[in-house]
C-alpha cells in the first residue's frame, strides 16, 4: 500500500486531481447555465410558438429556429469545437484554456438544451393550456405559471441530462487545450501513457456523473406532486 502511494504517478495524480476537478466542475456549471440562458427561451418558443398556439411567432421564424437548432445539433462536437475557435477569440481573446472551452460548449449545448426543454414542455396536456386560456391567462402567464411550473419535474430531469452531457463534452474539450479531468485523461493519461492518470480521471468523471444524476433524480422526484400510487401508500403508512 505504501508502495502505491510512493509511486510518482500516483503522487502526481493526487496533486493535480483537485484542480482538475475544480476546472471540470466550474466549466460545466458555467456552460450549463449559459446554455440554459439561450436554450430555455428557445425551447419555450419552439413549443409556445408552434402554430401560433400560445405565442404569435411568424411561421418563417419558427422554421428558421428549427433549422438553426438542427444544424448546430448535427455538427459533431469535436468538429464544432474547431469551427467556433474564431468566435472564442472574438469573445475572450483566446481559443485555448478552460474559459475558452466554454464557448464551444455553450454553442453545442444550447440547441441540445432547447430540444430537451421542448420535449419536457410537450409532455404537458394541451387541455391544461386550453383551460388556462379559457381563464384569461396571458401568453406570458401561460409560459411561467402553467408550462414551466407544471413541467418542473421533467425540466429538472432534462437539466440533469444536459449537465451530464456538457460534462462529457467538456472532457472532450481537453483535446483542444481545455483543462479539467478530460485533459488529464487525454493529454497525460493517454498520450503520455500514464495509466494512473488515465484511470484515475475516468473514475473521477464516473463519480461526478453519478453524483449529478442522483441529485437531479432526487430533486425531480421530490418536487413532483403527481404522486404515484406506491409512493402515496408509503406516505400513508408513516
Amino acid at each position: 500500500m505504501a508502495d502505491f502511494f510512493a509511486d510518482p504517478q500516483v503522487l502526481r495524480f493526487l496533486q493535480e486531481a483537485p484542480f482538475a476537478i475544480w476546472e471540470t466542475v466550474y466549466s460545466t456549471l458555467i456552460a450549463t447555465a449559459l446554455a440554459y440562458v439561450i436554450g430555455l427561451p428557445l425551447g419555450v418558443v419552439l413549443v409556445a410558438g408552434e402554430n401560433g398556439r400560445i405565442l404569435k411567432v411568424p411561421g418563417p421564424l419558427m422554421t428558421a429556429l428549427n433549422v438553426a437548432v438542427n444544424l448546430l445539433r448535427s455538427v459533431p462536437f469535436l468538429i464544432l469545437m474547431v469551427i467556433v475557435i474564431p468566435l472564442s477569440r472574438l469573445l475572450l481573446g483566446t481559443s485555448v484554456g478552460t474559459p475558452a472551452s466554454i464557448v464551444p460548449l455553450v454553442a453545442a449545448a444550447a440547441p441540445f438544451v432547447a430540444r430537451i426543454v421542448e420535449s419536457s414542455l410537450r409532455e404537458l396536456d394541451a387541455g391544461v393550456v386550453e383551460a388556462a386560456q379559457a381563464m384569461g391567462c396571458s401568453p406570458w402567464q401561460i409560459i411561467t405559471k402553467v408550462m414551466l411550473s407544471e413541467c418542473r419535474p421533467s425540466l429538472i430531469n432534462g437539466l440533469t441530462t444536459a449537465t451530464i452531457t456538457i460534462l462529457s463534452y467538456g472532457a472532450m474539450a481537453g483535446a483542444i487545450g481545455a483543462g479539467g479531468l478530460g485533459s488529464m485523461a487525454l493529454m497525460k493519461g493517454y498520450q503520455r501513457q500514464m495509466t494512473v492518470m488515465l484511470w484515475g480521471s475516468v473514475i473521477l468523471l464516473v463519480l461526478l456523473v453519478q453524483l449529478i444524476q442522483s441529485i437531479g433524480t432526487a430533486l425531480s422526484v421530490k418536487t413532483d406532486r403527481r404522486i404515484n400510487p406506491t409512493e402515496s401508500r408509503r406516505r400513508k403508512r408513516k
Binding site: V128, A134, G136, S149, R226, I227
Partner: protein, 340 residues
C-alpha cells in the same frame, strides 16, 4: 322571455384548407337565454366541442357572429378578450387541473391571474371549496383526488372569478353514473343559486334529460333542431333527434311489427320509488300485457330513473295509459309513428 346572453349567428368553422378542409360547423345559429341550462347534444364529430369553443373564442369561427352578454366577441382585442374570458367559466372532460398545485392553489389560480392579493384569494378559495363540498381537501393534490372530486375543484376554480356563464364540455363523460349525477346536481345548484347561465355539451341524452331546459341537436356540423327538452323528447323532428331520443339496440323489425299491431308508448321514470312493479301491476290490475320494446332505466338509491318503450295491445291501451299517468313521478306519452 329572458334576454339571450349568448347569441351565435350563422356560425361556420372550417379547419384546414383545400381538399382536406373539414367543415366542423355550418351556419349554426343558437340563442342561450340568461339563467337557463342549455344543452348541446350530438354524436362525436358533430361539432359540439368546436361550437362551445367558439363561445369563448378558444376557436375563432371562420364566419358568423358571437355575442356574449352584449359584447361582440370577434371585435375584442386580445387584452379585452382575456378580461371577458374571466366571466366565462369552462370545465372539461379531463378536468385540466394544474397537477403541481393543491386543490386550494388551483382555485386561487384564476384569482392570481386577476391580480387578487394572496390572502383574499385563499379566503375565496376556501369559501368555494365549501360550496363544492370539498372543505377538507384543500391541501390535496389532484393526483390524490377522485374524478368527481377533481371536477368539483375545476368547478370551484371557474366560480372563483364570478362568471356569468359556465361552459361544460363533456364535463361528466369521464365519470361513473353516480358521480355524474352528483356533478350534474352541483351544476344545477350553481345555476339556481348563483344565477349562472350554463351551456352543457354532451353526447349523452341522460345528461340533457337530467338538467337542461332547452337543447340543440348538432349533426355533422349542422343544427338539426332546437327546442325544449320535452318537445324534442316527445317528437323529435330530425333524423339526428330520433337517433338520440330512441336509443340504439332496439331491432327495427320488432318495432315495425309492434307498431302494426300495438300502440307504442314511452314511459319516463323521474325518480319515483323503484320498489313498485309497474309492468306487473299493469298486467294484474289492468289486465294489460305490456311488451317491453326497449328500456334504459337505472335504480339510484331506490329511485327509478330513465325511460322505457312499451308496446301495448290496442284494446286496453287507453286504460293502461290512464293508469300510468296516475302514478307519481312517471310520465307517459304515445309514440304514434315509431321507427328505430
Amino acid at each position: 322571455m329572458a334576454e339571450p346572453i349568448i347569441q351565435l349567428k350563422h356560425l361556420t368553422k372550417r379547419f384546414g384548407g383545400g381538399e382536406n378542409e373539414v367543415h366542423a360547423l355550418e351556419d349554426v345559429s343558437i340563442e342561450v337565454r340568461a339563467g337557463e341550462i342549455f344543452g348541446v347534444i350530438g354524436l362525436s364529430g358533430a361539432g359540439k366541442s368546436t361550437l362551445v369553443r367558439c363561445i369563448n373564442l378558444l376557436e375563432r369561427p371562420t364566419a358568423g357572429e358571437v355575442i356574449v352578454d352584449g359584447r361582440d366577441m370577434l371585435r375584442l382585442t386580445e387584452k379585452e378578450l382575456r378580461k371577458v374570458r374571466q366571466s366565462i367559466g369552462m370545465i372539461f372532460q379531463s378536468f385540466n387541473l394544474l397537477m403541481q398545485r393543491t386543490a386550494l392553489d388551483n382555485i386561487c389560480f384564476p384569482l392570481e391571474l386577476a391580480g387578487a392579493p394572496r390572502r383574499e384569494a385563499v379566503r375565496r378559495a376556501e369559501e368555494l371549496l365549501e360550496i363544492v363540498d370539498l372543505a377538507g381537501r384543500a391541501g390535496a393534490y389532484p393526483a390524490q383526488l377522485s374524478g368527481g372530486q377533481k371536477q368539483r375543484v375545476a368547478i370551484a376554480r371557474t366560480l372563483a372569478t364570478n362568471p356569468k356563464v359556465l361552459l361544460c364540455d363533456e364535463a361528466t363523460s369521464a365519470l361513473d353514473p353516480k358521480t355524474t349525477r352528483d356533478i350534474l346536481r352541483l351544476i344545477q345548484d350553481i345555476n339556481k343559486r348563483l344565477g349562472i347561465t350554463v351551456v352543457v355539451i354532451t353526447h349523452e341524452m341522460k345528461v340533457i334529460e337530467e338538467i337542461c331546459a332547452r337543447v340543440a341537436i348538432l349533426d355533422h356540423g349542422h343544427l338539426a333542431e332546437t327546442g325544449t327538452v320535452e318537445e324534442i323528447f316527445a317528437s323529435p323532428r330530425s333524423e339526428a333527434g330520433r337517433r338520440l331520443v330512441y336509443p340504439d339496440g332496439v331491432p327495427a323489425e320488432v318495432l315495425y311489427s309492434a307498431a302494426d299491431r300495438d300502440r307504442v308508448i314511452r314511459v319516463a321514470f323521474n325518480g319515483g320509488t323503484s320498489y313498485q312493479p309497474l309492468i306487473a301491476t299493469l298486467a294484474i290490475d289492468c289486465g294489460v300485457k305490456a311488451n317491453i320494446l326497449g328500456a334504459d332505466t337505472r335504480n339510484i338509491d331506490g329511485r327509478a330513473f330513465g325511460t322505457m318503450l312499451l308496446g301495448l295491445p290496442r284494446e286496453g291501451a287507453d286504460k293502461a295509459m290512464t293508469y300510468i299517468r296516475s302514478q307519481k313521478d312517471i310520465t307517459v306519452e304515445e309514440v304514434p309513428d315509431y321507427h328505430g
